[in-house]
Symmetry: C2
Subunit: 574 residues, 2 copies
């Protein structure tokens, strides 16, 4: 029977738990969310959340809400379904690719599913904030979004449908935006600390399709990450690979004589290293890109042990780029392209600063099966300028302090952007300033993915058996196991305990009468911070066992002392 008093009995909890590792999961949060009955897939990158996850997510949302309210955020709600007209105004109906879902309504009108809400925020604010006196202000929502990711993966780490807190602030000066941006940065630090992830770091990042100049991502460094974060242990420099800078030691070499050498079939760097016995850092590599929406072709020369950082190159080009696939009609000797004696009509050529001043380099001779050796950059060809478009390499020197840089994997759990006037200008939002003049407001925006944050908490807090939920976000606070045997049924005692503790705590009771192994395995998967085991042996001494999910506390307590002991433990772990 369903109880009508709101109690939570494990026998009734929907969401089967199982022992086997799910076949299609490889990272801890995905594995445990499936094994523990937290989520179930409905479609590609689309999940239903079961009760434990929803409880966790509600707590995370409330923490976020408190922190947003504390920095004067006004909670609002924008629609999931947005008319095309709004996205036409910002230009993103055209500029955003197929991650934006577009569809028609019954009368043929064009709509999109909101994947971010800058347009909706400006639409709402522009009629309501026409005087300077209203500024600054921040509005935020916690709402479902849909982004048609080509590669959803890892359970809640990268999905197509997700719940997000997105906030938008409006200002009358860049200084005020920067002031509030810092306030919001601190609020984010508090949020991550309160949900149990004080180790989240903020790194400089690319603003990507959002536009704007300054941006930070909040990253949890962990193996499940698909972003690369460059860090310096010495001075604390941190940046997403997309924007990270490093300083490379020059490869010392004396100027040499140019020679054209026969390198049959060596049209890759690896083959060339084998063929000539010269290391890749003594070579110049050519990489080609197409520019989206145009016939422009971009050729980049970079030291051959480095990779071109597409995010950096995009910013240089000012448009989306893709690796060149269709080479028809392009007058380059693919596989043997080099900067010396280059003919590249109609191709834009860029030189990465990694090759500046290098001597005795190898590069393509613009002739199939031939390379030059002994090239000196500046002597044999003269780039007009050098740009920074290479990915930072592990061990490169920090641009601040010179110490060696580290590469780490990280998951983005939040981001903040100084958007500037990209949306307010294109959507013609104005206010009247103190002198009666019309001005364009300056915007910031601030996001946190709620479900991904829940998954990241598992990435950071788990053992071999399941999640170890921090007290502030745990689905329940106390988990009672009742271990009866043939001699004695301890259920009534466990139930009494349950009733008593439920007055002050969120308690779940394992009422199934299963054996200890099953009960403990399930308790581990549910990851509730405090566990009370009611066993026949201990009850005979008037005691129960209390332990924490992380095993740091394990103690026997007299029945009459339980509440005091729990209060003590909560004070310790909260």
């Amino acid at each position: 029977m369903l109880k009508d008093d709101g109690t939570m009995l494990l026998s009734k909890l929907l969401g089967e738990r199982y022992k086997e590792k799910p076949a299609d999961a490889s990272i801890p949060s995905h594995i445990f969310m499936l094994k523990g009955g937290y989520i179930r897939q409905v479609g590609n990158g689309i999940y239903s959340m079961l009760m434990p996850t929803k409880r966790i997510v509600n707590k995370i949302e409330n923490i976020i809400r408190e922190e947003m309210d504390a920095i004067d955020g006004q909670e609002v709600l924008f629609p999931v379904v947005l008319p095309r007209e709004l996205w036409d105004e910002s230009g993103r109906y055209e500029s955003v690719g197929s991650e934006l879902v577009r569809f028609h309504d019954r009368s043929g009108g064009d709509y999109v599913l909101g994947m971010t809400h800058e347009e909706a925020a400006v639409h709402l604010a522009r009629n309501e904030a026409q005087s300077y006196a209203k500024y600054p202000f921040m509005i935020y929502q916690i709402q479902t979004k849909f982004r048609d990711e080509p590669r959803s993966r890892g359970g809640l780490i990268r999905v197509r449908e997700f719940t997000m807190k997105d906030a938008y602030s409006f200002h009358t000066s860049q200084e005020d935006l920067e002031r509030y941006y810092d306030i919001c940065h601190k609020a984010y630090e508090r949020i991550f600390e309160r949900v149990g992830l004080p180790e989240v770091i903020s790194v400089g990042s690319d603003s990507g399709m959002m536009g704007g100049a300054v941006a930070h991502e909040f990253m949890l460094l962990c193996d499940a990450g698909e972003d690369t974060i460059v860090t310096c242990d010495s001075c604390g420099y941190k940046a997403n690979m997309e924007v990270a800078e490093g300083v490379l030691d020059k490869v010392e070499a004396q100027p040499a004589e140019i020679k054209k050498v026969h390198t049959p079939g060596a049209n890759t760097i690896d083959a060339l290293v084998d063929c000539l016995g010269v290391p890749a850092e003594r070579m110049i590599k050519a990489t080609m890109f197409a520019v989206e929406g145009s016939k422009r072709v971009v050729l980049v020369f970079v030291r051959a042990d480095l990779e071109v950082n597409e995010a950096k190159l995009k910013r240089v080009i000012g448009a989306n780029i893709f690796p060149l696939v269709d080479t028809e009609g392009i007058d380059l000797t693919f596989g043997y392209c080099g900067p010396y004696n280059l003919k590249a009509d109609g191709v834009e050529v860029y030189y990465d600063r990694s090759i500046e001043g290098a001597n005795d380099m190898v590069s393509g001779a613009n002739e199939v099966d031939y390379h030059y050796t002994g090239l000196s950059v500046g002597r044999d060809f003269q780039p007009e300028r050098y740009i920074d478009v290479a990915k930072v390499k592990e061990g490169a020197k920090c641009c601040n302090c010179g110490a060696p840089l580290k590469l780490n994997r990280g998951v983005e759990v939040g981001n903040i952007f100084q958007l500037g006037t990209k949306y307010t200008e294109s959507m013609q939002m104005v206010y009247t300033d103190q002198d009666g003049k019309q001005q364009t407001p300056i915007m910031g925006c601030y996001g946190i993915g709620v479900g991904r944050l829940a998954a990241c908490i598992i990435e950071s807090h788990h053992d071999d058996y399941g999640p170890i939920w921090p007290y502030a976000v745990a689905p329940w606070q106390i988990h009672i196991c009742a271990l009866s045997n043939k001699k004695m049924d301890v259920q009534p005692i466990a139930r009494e305990l349950y009733d008593k503790l439920s007055k002050n705590y969120e308690v779940i009771l394992d009422d199934r009468g299963a054996n200890a192994g099953v009960q403990f395995a399930d308790a581990d998967l549910l990851g509730v911070p405090i566990r009370i085991v009611v066993s026949v042996k201990n009850i005979e001494n008037g005691e129960v066992e209390i332990s924490t999910r992380d095993k740091s506390i394990q103690t026997k307590v007299k029945l009459e002392d339980i509440e005091a002991e729990i209060a003590k433990i909560v004070a310790q772990i909260q």
Copy 2:
């Protein structure tokens, strides 16, 4: 400057308030939600909610959540975007019309926007509840839905995108479903009472496209309603017009002789009444319908002062019907169709019970410009059976007690359905019973529209100047107006009061220095239950004025007694 302490100053509240009645709004909730800066339209039937609405909605959601948890509901979250496959399983991908939004993802997969989540609920539950021991259980969510209504109207009363609490229960017997259905009915009563709408009534209703047998709608009777509710003051009978039954007095008349009369151009009932001088209740009217997805044509004869109830007829037919538009190829004399000497090959003919045994009736002669008079039903033509497909007329007799029925307009704020096995059977959900046999679970479902409920609270609680929010759902609990004059600036005193009261209440402070008229008009539009007016005159006596939004309390209080007085008022109005 944005304050960093979470205070709410009216000067910063986004959402302009204005005096003019909005041109496109006619019902109180729509008018006040626009005038008061509560909502802004983004598209047809699509709104953004500003802070006051979001705060109200959050409070309503929490009340709903508490009541759902109290009847052992497990909160979950289903996706907004659902793969077509789920809706194919239930058959609704085909059977539901264009109110279901269908679209493709980037790889061409078919998806829908969830307008209801029976499919998602069964999808989630069917792998997690395979043993009888798990039953019964109820899962619910509070989530965004999109229903492509052809006629959205009235602000939040009828929208296309809305937030809904939808719950789904699963049972092993019809008795258990009925037991839980009653529990849920009571929970709904508590919810409506707690949000300030104890006057909501539950009425028997049609289960429509949800399927299932027994259903109730929770209705707020008010002028804004577009449903018609039939009520009996004498015995308490209540039903939606869609299912309501009434008993009609027979029109007393002696049998007469059939005559064919010339009625040129009288192809409507009104024209015929004029032409013959006979009242409509002495006539038989023919109404034609097309059956969706077929070539079937349905002809219904009903007493001419009554209308055909399409919901009832749908249930008789077992399919969707529409008023017949395309008459090509149908062998009926439109405008002059009658039951006597009728030739209606290929047409299905039904007779409403309102004409049973009637004498001396007028009806079409199946010949243009001619009618019969003097028809006796049963003598001149013999229906095989009579069915009940007429709409109840005001004053018809209650089928329970015989008292006259009333027609009322009402808005549906919630509904509950006994679904039976429609979804569990079509989606092949089974569990193993105590005897090891496979059984199909029996479902109930239970919905509440959150935004519509907020609008209905205004419909029920407002005066000429704005909403009068019940304490439990008010956006703030106390509204402080500060009326300075040239002599004295009372802002510091108001601010002190604000700081003091904010510790225990949700307070908004009008810090704009506007004149009393503007401040009071805005306070009326925000509808906060308790108002404190700090004016120079009263402050000089060490007093402020406290009043309730509904004007039932209006009193002057010494500054030092404010907290005690507020506590007293809250106890009274809560």
